[in-house]
Symmetry: C2
Subunit: 523 residues, 2 copies
């Protein structure tokens, strides 16, 4: 009997590995589509991808899946809850149970609405036309309500949708922590706005530098940064923090991303702006954070829960940690700035480290999330998190969304969009049916700060290490504490396990005060 | 009844299109492997590819295939032999019949031997160790004999293997035409070797140029050609002759190739040598020839016989035509040379068009096929074509292959390799189980010259057009005469249909005499 069950377990794992293999091929099709696919190849690419998506669905809903899971439910394999097999079965059961609750028809309608929605969104955004997009968004919200109902929930219909991106998270708990964050963040932002803007170069205004602040621009630097030198520098930056190019590469795409095409195949992308190399560098540090998480997952478990990322929030914590907590720190640039000056002599020779540090850390309420700084970013998320909950519960109608958006931006950030393109139409997420996704960005920031504080407690001054270009201790700590466990723990359990405390807004606020106080003369 | 059969026909076509779709995904995996895949990703990539290969095999051997083909064999659809449906069924029947004749076990053993063979070949070539490679090659030859027997043949065991690459071709006929070619080629080569080497710059030897002939080197030019300028120039060259970048792109790989990833997705690769831009340019013109063939196939029939290339020989005729008959002509460089000088002023300003033209058309007996010139190339092929036939019939043992190789090179080219790496181990083909492939390279040269002569008869002086940068008439002629038919005609039928004569060595010899006579002062 025991032999039969362990054969069943092996068969189940082989089957799930096969699903992952097909998905990895789908990921290559998507990577290629976003990096270099010729324009005319689009329609056939959609056929190739939907063929594989259909195959994945077929494999997940194979009737043997239910049989295997049922047969193994009370087997000796699960006696020890912490064994690899028990963890694997727990996670596969969870995934399978969610998948089978959705009627095939709803899945198909959601897929179709998401494809049409993204196309309509792109058109509406260009035309600044919310009304043209409204019917499709209404359809998507209705389908997401149906989906929430099909999954089932006790407290909020938002719960099962959030759970798709952040397994185990509850809306009430996320609301509590983000509200606590906002309570301290809004006064801090007001203080920063009112503070002497030392970042604008007070006291140095008579000195011309090539890296002048662009008034109202979205870019810190304004120089001439040759693209091929930027590419070499980006690779250097990624290598220095430990990204393994033997199992990865960097390409160019309009929107930077990171994807995994196999246990040893991690693809980062960035984009290069001739006038500002920081765009590419912070994109690379962000994506490298994702890439290091993937490279730290146990490759022998690729495709199975023990080889997969826990949640989008934990994934994002790794990218934000390297982008912001490392990459925007003064210590990091004490290490890298002279190298940057060497690579870009024309653009950076007349810039001081202090100027540069202030330029990459300007805090300014703005309208567009993806251009926001470290501090205000979370307020952009809060707006979306509140609004998408209200859409789902029916407290807010899609027709009233633009007004609510304006009100909420005014409330949290003190700014008001002049058009829909820089307002409610700026993000693709809702048009693609991704409701419940946004809070994982802020969760990522919170996890990152809490992990980072613990890393510093365990490893001593990280600034000291960064100044010497030593990133291995931090990276290895992250592998040891987070990456190597795969999905063994939920995000909430992992945070408590690693830091000894539940998730809190305090580490992030401490980081903000410690960093921006001196920068804005608010000691 | 008729309705049922046309439904059957639609089902069959859908099934075959699905096979093509899965194969197109496999092609992307291979393209990525050869262009940019990180080294460590190799083993999983093999799993991804063999998964899809297994799926393709599964789809081909679906029992419904035999039923559908049997049901349609006597249907009204095939009454008109020239109808699209009749052509499609004829070709699918042919493919299916060959596939089902091979026992599953033999297919698997051949696949395994080919994978092991390629690995062993790479090691043996580096180590100049034929004996280490011999057992695997013996195994491969034995399996290819088995394969030939399984396919069945009347005249030569080489026939069914050749047929895999050049459907419908017969060994005796290919032997006849290549022997006729050799009878005239060997004396021509002797005459060239004995002729005054005007290509070496006689009468100009006192003048220094940046494009000096490298004594004994494999490269015509020796200058400084910045890689990014070469990439821009390669794209220009491809665009000028009509390659559609809306449905294609150029990447870099160690060995240039062309592949098709969908009806509107054509990928070329090349490689760049800093010291000689001709390597990249002729590679690009070669691959563009393949790409234009693919882009000229009817996309609506993608995956079905009417949307596929006829044979490797016809495919190669298109690449050789653009590489050699267009790209190595004086008229082409009368158009392009000043543009090349503009792009590479440092390397080319002191070179004249005449010098350049002679440099890219040096004829010299050599040891390595892929570095051979237009004239000697076919003698390299003849050596391989003779030897692989003898291996297959048993007239030659693998153990005796190196000696036979030396004798044959001495006989046809008057040169003798000093080691196996530049001798019998130089090509990957046999190690990968590709026996019957080599003659398609020479067939490509022969087809190309015969088509080109006919195009000139139909379109007037092509040189006149090339001088003005007009390539559309030739390209459109090729689409009209060759590409748009897909596999409607066999290669032999197509040649007769287009040129009014069966394949002959004469057009190629006429081309050689007309071109190299003046170049080598042999008028």
């Amino acid at each position: 009997m025991k032999t039969i069950k362990s054969n069943t377990y092996a068969r189940l794992c082989d089957h799930v590995r096969e699903i992952a293999l097909v998905q990895s091929i789908e990921s290559l099709l998507e990577w290629d589509e976003r990096t270099g696919m010729p324009p005319a190849a689009g329609p056939y690419r959609a056929e190739q991808m939907s063929h594989l998506a259909g195959r994945v669905h077929q494999l997940w809903t194979d009737p043997r899946m239910a049989e295997w899971l049922a047969e193994l439910a009370d087997s000796p394999l699960v006696a020890d809850h912490d064994s690899d097999a028990a963890v694997t079965l727990r996670e596969l059961r969870r995934l399978y149970d969610k998948k089978v609750r959705l009627p095939q028809k709803l899945v198909e309608e959601l897929t179709r609405a998401a494809v049409l929605g993204q196309q309509a969104w792109a058109v509406a955004r260009r035309a600044n036309d919310f009304e043209g997009f409204r019917p499709l968004l209404e359809r998507i919200v209705a389908l997401k309500r149906e989906e929430a109902a099909a999954f089932g929930f006790t407290d909020s219909p938002y719960d099962p949708l959030l759970d798709e991106y952040e397994p185990g998270a509850k809306t009430a708990e996320v609301s509590r922590v983000l509200a606590a964050l906002a309570d301290e963040l809004v006064p801090l932002l007001t203080a920063i706005v009112n503070a002497t803007p030392r970042a604008k170069g007070a006291g140095e205004s008579t000195r011309k530098t090539s890296a002048a602040v662009r008034a109202g621009g979205d870019s810190a630097l304004d120089g001439d940064f040759p693209l091929d030198v930027q590419a070499t520098f980006a690779r250097l930056v990624a290598e220095q923090v430990g990204f393994d190019f033997n199992a990865g590469r960097i390409d160019v795409s309009a929107h930077p991303f990171c994807t995994q095409l196999g246990p040893h195949d991690h693809r980062l992308t960035t984009r290069y702006s001739q006038r500002d190399m920081t765009d590419a560098i912070f994109s690379i540090l962000h994506e490298v954070g994702h890439g290091l998480y993937q490279q730290g997952l146990p490759p022998e478990h690729f495709g199975l829960p023990l080889g997969e990322a826990i949640s989008l929030g934990i994934h994002e914590s790794q990218s934000r940690l390297w982008e912001n907590l490392v990459g925007r720190s003064r210590a990091y640039w004490e290490w890298l700035f002279s190298q940057a000056q060497h690579s870009f002599p024309q653009a950076l020779t007349d810039t001081t480290l202090d100027e540069f540090y202030r330029l990459i850390n300007q805090v300014r309420p703005s309208l567009v999330r993806i251009e926001a700084d470290e501090v205000t970013y979370n307020l952009h998320i809060l707006v979306r998190f509140e609004l998408e909950q209200e859409l789902l519960t029916g407290d807010l109608e899609v027709a009233d969304l633009p007004d609510a958006w304006h009100d909420r931006y005014h409330h949290y950030l003190g700014v008001t969009p002049q058009n829909h393109a820089e307002g409610v139409l700026q993000d693709i997420h809702w048009s693609a049916g991704a409701i419940g996704y946004f809070p994982t960005y802020s969760l990522g920031n919170l996890y990152a700060a809490q992990f980072f504080e613990q890393a510093e407690a365990d490893l001593g001054s990280l600034d000291e290490q960064f100044r010497r270009g030593q990133f291995a201790p931090l990276r290895e700590w992250l592998v040891e504490q987070i990456h190597r466990h795969g999905r063994r723990y939920s995000a909430a359990d992992l945070v408590e396990r690693v830091t000894g405390r539940p998730l809190s807004h305090e580490p992030l606020m401490r980081h903000f005060r410690r960093k921006f106080g001196p920068l804005y003369g608010m000691n």
